[in-house]
Assembly symmetry: C2
Homo-oligomer: 139 residues x 2
DNA sequence: TTCCTTGCAAAACTTTTGCATTAAA
DNA sequence: TTTAATGCAAAAGTTTTGCAAGGAA
């Protein structure tokens, strides 16, 4: 789904398609998010964006990340309590979490299959499933 | 497993069994955690403990929660980015997360069955599985 | 005494917000 | 000119830490 299009124009189109006004800062943040297939924190984004081009403020990074997440362009992960991670892959998938390194690794949907899931409480329905498989070093 | 023993003596025994010196504050925090079957935040614990008995400081609440978690007496949950939740149920189980109310509801193990799980990366093994089923209001 | 625990305040860290400035249409 | 976006600094919220004081053995 529109992988590999990381030019400014393509990214601007992608933002517009979500109803987001494509500004310079937003395009740069989007580039950092989508050109790397990684999970990034707000701090990392700030460092990446300000390393490559001109100045972007911390507030703008946070505002932009929330904006992107609100429009379904990225997903915010709560994997450890220390900080938020932002995932440029909004398609259904799961995660390995390496407890020794802190690394997050994607787990594609076909690698997981549920034979049984609980029935949601009355009046509610499932909005999404977050699965995190914690990993430790094998001895 | 040792449910329903919430007297000071029983709680003290339970702490000692984990290698934790049972002080007054620790016993009160343990009582708040175990006598209710709920998921509690540090702030809620602080309020509960200081409502019933004498003063316990915020730092002691945090230190105690970390101590309990380090000794496997409770589990810290990362379910939303806003704050940590502490679960007095350390046995294997999963969670519903009601997005509209913020409520956390236990899902017992038998309600979930995995037909397939991914193979951990080389040199690692599975330390635990966190499953959070997000719920929204059904229309 | 000696060791452990607690409390307080301050610090650290992440995230949000208020507001003046800037950029854009 | 009018609106939207940005940057800065301050504020807010959660959690950790340093250190002096307190309590138990």
């Amino acid at each position: 789904m529109s992988q590999g299009h990381y030019s400014k124009d393509d990214l601007a189109d992608r933002l517009r398609a979500c109803g987001i006004n494509p500004t310079r800062q937003r395009i740069e943040i989007a580039h950092a998010l989508f050109s790397r297939g990684e999970h990034l924190s707000a701090d990392q984004l700030l460092a990446i964006v300000n390393d490559r081009h001109s100045e972007t403020s911390k507030a703008t990074v946070y505002n932009t990340l929330n904006l992107f997440a609100d429009h379904g362009l990225i997903r915010q992960l709560s994997v450890d309590g220390s900080r938020a991670w932002f995932d440029s892959n909004v398609g259904p998938h799961f995660h390995f979490h390496d407890l020794s390194s802190g690394a997050l690794i994607d787990v594609p949907v076909p690698d997981v299959e549920f034979a049984r899931l609980p029935v949601p409480p009355p009046g509610t329905e499932v909005a999404g499933i977050d699965l995190v498989i914690r990993l430790r070093k094998k001895l």
